[in-house]
């Protein structure tokens, strides 16, 4: 008998779950979207384009015939083993080695451990010795290893087109120094990127002493450190703040995206999570207020989020300051703020800060003017937060000239030789400087760059820079700790480093990178030089080198001086006078990662656009611009033209004009923006770049000036009438808006920690584990008992009365994972860490638009606004794009279901369970029917539609006719512990099975050699999956659920643990911990229930039990009659389960 499991039709009363919608299409239920829901794969994702069956058979017949001819080659090809001629110390073939290094970025660095295989770095992880990061690293650090193997990087030093040998480069640099010695450097200028390297600082000091008349300028297109002018005025000292978020109970962010854009964001995210994580109802939870113009990850975590133009932040800061500092001085600054913020919002927010003296924190964004920072410092000082939630450390004031100074010098004709060290000013310098023209006017330009770019293209001499994984160097982290930059491999193309260049120009005795760094470190460390250096390289940090905390005294007079000017009247923005915010892109940063395929393909965490940037506008502005979709065709910045545009965002190209400067780019309507703020991400639209970055996005720098580099006003948008398809992954793999992310307010959690069980179907679901063993009943057990129960259930046979035979789960371990949605900030680091660890290919924009991206873990971003009542699918009340939604984030990877639906449909048993509970995937067995992906409720299986590892992205459709093979360089990044999959094979998350197997083997070997061979269970915490390891907020726990005391078992025993789509009786090994929000009941925008719950309730309960705690009393008993009808499918399953 064929069983047909009908999912309940997602209509008003029958759909059981909160309304989450990941795209406005979904919210509006446009016909195309509904159609897409019915399809397993988006249009085009499952079809072979341009080849019909007949043609296919013809081609195949030919290849079969050829195959016959080739039979003579049956014998295995002869393969060689090539051992080293001379033994290499420390290298054991087959075992990776780990070295400490660091990725420098602007004025900070991320300490790393590099995994190398026989001298070839393949994966980077955070260095756990640096405790502030605890082994975590960022999205950019994870992807930076791909740049090392970028086939488009500079492969030779060149002068006027001719290749320079290393000796010639050395001579050239030495001659620069000699030429300008006589004139004391007059005529010589340097333009460098920012760096925290103590060695570079030392060499620059020496160089400037030797050539005092030379210009030393530094330029970074984005600034991620608070302006020192504010600290100098308020405290009379050159200090910068280091925030201690873990100690802060109440946090107010003024346009500060401290999860991403601020220096030290990795540390801040981690510390913030410490204050956010709630392990039991007795724990405290921090509260986050965010006022921002863009929609950032920080804003998405906010308990109270205020949409406010960046230009109004000063007024808001002043208003908060007026209340908290109890002063009238700031009052004039707040004039006109009432039009944008309710008085009550300000007062209650300020009161909450006052109520938590010494445990509150005000953070201002680095791009804001010094006055805002001064007010923030003042509030922190007067609330007693300094020394508690914020420390100040002394920093050296910048002594470098700015790029404007340098531009003036060039204009005056006084610069004869210009040495550019890193950076890409021809691309990203302020537009009013017209840098490209200035650079050409200098007679002799020497440019040290990593790849051919806009700047090197205009330089007479181009020197190839070494990647940081090829360089000797050093750097400081955001808190000042000195970390080594250690080479993992000799420069692949003879690249040189900045310190080597500087040493040669300065005429140092030795220009050897190691010697230069060693000199600096041993001077800093003191004691036995050799020992100090060895320890430094071994640990990866120089102990005790962090900036010393300094006591600061609030100087009222100094602070007042900052406000001497008459306050400007608060500006009112409109469609004719837009505020334009230039922001660093999550992936491209300022453009330096432009040719990195992993980053290009990674969707933006908020917009979910990959391979492009877009001009982000608010829904209100969209309406005024006339691009607001109407009726059921409500969607983001496009009108559906045909059904093929599903999954592709058919965006309109607008011209953005600021101060007479114009840029063109696609427009994306982004809920949550300040009404008249236009957000423009930087870093795209490079003209001279590699194969990957070419053609991606538009360049926003031409609209940026020295004065308006972060925030500009007076912008206007005009439609160009043209369109661009954007690859937007937000509509792919929809989960139909059920009880996906379960949330509650903190006060509800304190009363009912097991709130997750009252949401969704399981509270009245039939016997998954037995009639009386509902999650609600389970929560009556103690945590220890629940952990033991999880352990017992993991090995239960038969499972759920299933007729399908799965292997006995009798291994020494049972693997499981727990993901804490309460701390996940959606940074996407796990996505790229997984890509690096598991050899996941990129597929290109065209394939992403077809829904063929290969990421094994994805981050779902759901919006909810509380108004999606009566069903999100075509119901009333959903005709407006919400302006201020709440965001729920959820990472989803294969959940390793114990009763995996994918396994029962595989015709060749390519995906089966192993004895430790892993849903394994045998690639060499897979024949590519894709039935498993059809049957996967999470949509986490990925199919190799093309030979992405063998074919170039631009010739995928040529098939066998296209060029085959990848450059050797690209192959070098592959992890040798993981199979490189070929075309026609399904793949998915394996819980990093290679790490599990190697971890088990290493443990068993160590125990056998230690004489304890029976000790085969790996200690908890030894094996970490790549996503868990990289997570800055420690949201992921992984381990052995067979051990009730393991970290993962303890996490799963927490009351807010739930299974995603648990009612399907698939028993996922990955479970989630429900999300919490901590709003302030006194705030005007207080929501007594998370908006997703409001939607959930209004959908599933009659309006009568709607209300503040509409879900109370919603237990199995009263809901039972409804449930019977609602969950017909499950009842069917129950009956069938007993049918046999």
């Amino acid at each position: 008998m064929k069983r047909i499991f009908e999912h309940p039709a997602p209509s008003a009363r029958e759909l059981n779950g909160p309304t989450y919608w990941r795209s406005l299409d979904e919210l509006a239920a446009s016909p195309g979207f509904v159609d897409q829901l019915k399809r397993e794969f988006p249009q085009g994702a499952a079809e072979l384009d341009g080849v019909d069956r007949r043609h296919f058979m013809k081609i195949m017949a030919a290849s079969f015939a050829l195959g016959g001819v080739g039979l003579a080659g049956c014998r295995r090809p002869e393969v060689n083993i090539l051992p080293f001629g001379k033994s290499v110390e420390g290298i054991i073939p087959g075992l990776p080695q780990y070295y400490a290094t660091a990725m420098p970025l602007r004025q900070s660095a991320i300490p790393l451990l590099a995994e190398t295989h026989q001298g070839r770095p393949t994966k980077l992880e955070g260095n756990p010795t640096y405790t502030p990061h605890g082994g975590a690293s960022s999205l950019l650090a994870q992807a930076s290893i791909l740049d090392l193997y970028d086939p488009d990087r500079a492969t030779a030093h060149r002068k006027g087109g001719a290749v320079l040998k290393a000796e010639a480069v050395n001579d050239l640099l030495a001659s620069v120094g000699k030429t300008y010695t006589a004139s004391q450097g007059a005529g010589l200028a340097f333009l460098a990127d920012q760096s925290s390297s103590p060695t570079r600082a030392r060499l620059v000091k020496k160089l400037r002493r030797k050539l005092p008349k030379a210009v030393w300028a530094e330029y970074e297109p984005v600034n991620d450190e608070p302006p020192i002018a504010a600290a100098r005025a308020v405290f009379g000292a050159d200090v910068k703040p280091i925030y201690q978020f873990a100690k802060a109970k109440r946090i107010l962010s003024l346009d500060a995206d401290f999860f991403h854009a601020e220096s030290g964001s990795l540390y801040y995210a981690r510390e913030f999570a410490k204050g956010r994580r709630v392990k039991s109802k007795d724990d405290a939870m921090n509260r986050l207020y965010v006022a921002e113009s863009a929609f950032t990850l920080t804003g998405s975590m906010a308990d109270h989020r205020l949409r406010l133009a960046s230009s109004h932040m000063l007024a808001l800061a002043a208003a908060i300051g007026t209340k908290t500092l109890d002063t009238e001085i700031l009052k004039p600054l707040t004039d006109g703020l009432d039009a944008f913020v309710s008085q009550k919002w300000v007062e209650e927010c300020a009161q909450d800060l006052i109520d938590h003296k010494g445990a509150s924190l005000v953070v201002a964004g680095a791009h804001l003017p010094p006055q805002v920072h001064a007010i923030a410092y003042a509030i922190n000082a007067l609330l007693g937060n300094i020394g508690q939630t914020v420390d100040f450390v002394a920093v050296e004031p910048a002594s470098a000239a700015s790029i404007s100074d340098l531009a003036a010098a060039v204009k005056s004709g006084s610069v004869k030789t210009l040495v550019i060290l890193g950076g890409n000013p021809a691309y990203n310098a302020p537009a009013d400087l017209d840098w490209a023209k200035l650079q050409v006017s200098v007679a002799d330009v020497i440019c040290l760059g990593y790849a051919a770019d806009e700047t090197s293209a205009l330089a007479g001499t181009q020197l190839a820079a070494a990647h940081y994984l090829e360089s000797w160097g050093d750097a400081r982290t955001a808190d000042g700790t000195v970390v080594p930059v250690q080479p993992m491999i000799l420069p692949l193309f003879g690249g040189i480093t900045q310190i080597e260049v500087l040493a040669r120009i300065a005429g140092e005795a030795s220009a050897d990178g190691y010697a230069l760094v060693s000199d600096t470190i041993t001077a800093l460390a003191g004691g036995d030089a050799d020992k100090a250096m060895r320890r430094f390289l071994h640990d990866g940090i120089l102990a005790g080198s962090a900036f010393a905390k300094t006591a600061v005294n609030f100087d009222q007079r100094g602070a007042r001086a900052l406000f001497r000017d008459d306050p400007k009247k608060i500006e009112t923005f409109s469609a004719k006078n837009l505020e334009v915010r230039f922001v660093t892109d999550h992936k491209m940063d300022d453009g330096r990662f432009n040719n990195n395929g992993w980053l290009q393909e990674c969707p933006d965490p908020i917009t979910k656009i990959s391979w492009d940037n877009a001009i982000l506008v608010s829904p209100k502005l969209g309406k005024e611009l006339g691009i607001y979709p109407q009726g059921s065709k409500l969607q983001i910045a496009r009108v559906e033209e045909n059904e093929f545009s599903i999954g592709k965002e058919n965006s309109r190209i607008f011209e953005l004009s600021v101060g007479g400067r114009k840029i063109k780019g696609p427009v994306h309507i982004q809920p949550g923006l300040s009404n008249y703020t236009v957000v423009v991400p930087l870093g795209y639209g490079r003209t001279v770049t590699g194969h990957v970055g070419k053609g991606a996005g538009f360049n926003a720098y031409p609209a940026r000036t020295v004065a308006g580099s972060d925030v500009a006003t007076g912008g206007t948008l005009t439609d160009t009438g043209t369109r661009l398809l954007l690859a937007n992954t937000q509509e792919h793999w929809s989960m139909e808006g059920r009880d996906i992310v379960r949330e509650a307010n903190f006060d509800e959690y304190q009363k009912n920690p097991g709130y997750v069980d009252d949401i969704g179907t399981e509270s009245h679901s039939p016997a998954i584990y037995g009639a009386d063993k509902t999650p609600t009943n389970d929560n009556k057990l103690s945590r220890e008992d629940r952990a033991k129960q999880t352990t017992a259930r993991a090995k239960e046979i038969p499972r759920g009365g299933s007729m399908y035979a799965t292997p006995k789960f009798d291994g020494h371990h049972q693997w499981g994972m727990s993901i804490d949605l309460n701390t996940c900030i959606g940074c996407n680091a796990c996505v790229v860490a997984c890509q690096a660890e598991n050899n996941i290919p990129i597929v290109g924009k065209d394939q992403v638009m077809r829904g063929r991206e290969m990421h094994w873990i994805r981050l779902d971003r759901y919006y909810s606004d509380g108004r999606a009542e009566g069903g999100a699918f075509g119901g009333e009340g959903n005709r407006e794009i919400p302006e201020d939604p709440q965001v729920s984030l959820q990472p989803v990877a294969c959940a390793q279901c114990e009763l995996a639906p994918c396994e029962v449909v595989c015709p060749v048993n390519a995906t089966v369970h192993d004895e430790e509970g892993l849903n394994t995937m045998a690639y060499n067995r897979c024949i590519g029917t894709r039935y498993c992906a059809n049957n996967c409720p999470y949509k986490v299986r990925r199919f190799n539609f093309f030979d992405f590892n063998q074919r170039q992205l631009d010739s995928l459709y040529l098939g066998q006719l296209g060029p085959k093979g990848m450059p050797e360089l690209v192959k070098m990044v592959k992890n040798p512990e993981v199979t490189v999959r070929m075309r026609g094979v399904m793949e998915k998350c394996t819980y990093c099975v290679q790490r599990i197997q190697n971890g088990k083997i290493q443990h068993k070997v160590a125990m056998a050699q230690a004489g304890r061979p029976g000790d085969v269970v790996v200690p908890d915490g030894t094996i970490k999956t790549a996503c868990q390891q990289v997570c800055p907020v420690e949201a992921i726990e992984f381990g052995n659920i067979d051990d009730p005391k393991s970290a993962v078992s303890l996490a799963k025993a927490r009351e807010q643990d739930y299974s995603l789509l648990g009612y399907l009786n698939i028993r996922p090994r990955t479970t989630y911990l429900g999300k919490l929000r901590n709003p302030n009941p006194k705030m005007p925008d207080y929501q007594s229930l998370p908006l997703s719950r409001v939607e959930y309730n209004s959908k599933n309960h009659p309006p009568s039990d709607h209300g503040a705690h509409g879900h109370e009393g919603h237990g199995p008993a009263p809901a039972a009659p409804k449930a019977e009808k609602k969950h017909g499918m499950i009842d069917t399953a129950k009956t069938l389960g007993g049918l046999s």
Partner: protein, 219 residues
């Protein structure tokens, strides 16, 4: 109308069926025999750049396997020695032998001697030496009596069924851990009743439970 088919054609269908049956039988038999590792691999003994004799080095010189394959108990990969290892002795003896010229050259220049790979598992199978030799599986189980070979020959099929046979019944292949590198030693199971008992105890005490599902070898 003349007869289109002679009478003998009546037998044709039967003949065709029989011939086809025989043909398919032969093809099946051929494939099962000739296309399996038992035929394609066993007996593979390629010419090496240096005619190195394991028999001579083990039996006459008395070297342990681990003198050259020094990381076999640490790493997944059993390393082939560097030329420098060879030169530890050969800078003393046979210093001018023309047969050793490639080794001398390699040790001097650092370039590898291109040894021909004999026991090769496919790329998608991740075999780990260290776990086997540390837990009672001797070299001889997969490599045969290399200590008696002048020319190394592939003696076992090393097919998936070969692996699984042992993984399903590990007790039959276990050796006393101290005998693992003694290729002339006997398996515990072959040492009479006492040995069999010892093997069973080994499996129990060491919690020997080799993986039998895909994830054990395929990643």
């Amino acid at each position: 109308m003349s007869k289109l088919f002679p009478k003998s054609a009546n037998k044709l269908p039967l003949q065709i069926i029989i011939y086809l049956g025989v043909l398919v039988g032969i093809a099946t038999a051929g494939v099962t025999y000739y296309m399996t590792p038992k035929y394609t691999r066993v007996g593979y003994a390629p010419l090496q750049p240096v005619p190195f004799s394991h028999a001579k080095h083990v039996q006459e010189v008395g070297l342990d396997c681990r003198y050259c394959h020094s990381n076999v108990d640490k790493s997944a990969h059993s390393n082939v020695p560097t030329s420098q290892t060879c030169m530890n002795c050969h800078n003393q003896i046979k210093t001018t032998s023309p047969l050793l010229a490639p080794v001398r050259e390699s040790a001097a220049t650092g370039k590898s001697v291109p040894w021909v790979w004999i026991h090769k598992t496919p790329d998608y199978a991740y075999f780990n030496h260290s776990i086997h030799v540390n837990r009672g599986i001797s070299c001889v189980e997969c490599h045969g009596k290399v200590n008696e070979m002048d020319v190394v020959t592939h003696t076992q099929p090393l097919s998936m069924s070969f692996c699984l046979e042992c993984h399903r019944n590990p007790a039959a292949a276990l050796r006393d851990p101290k005998d693992v590198f003694n290729l002339d030693s006997k398996r515990l199971a072959d040492q009479g009743e006492a040995g069999a008992k010892q093997a069973a105890a080994f499996v129990h005490d060491w919690k020997v439970k080799p993986p039998q599902s895909c994830s054990g070898c395929h990643r």
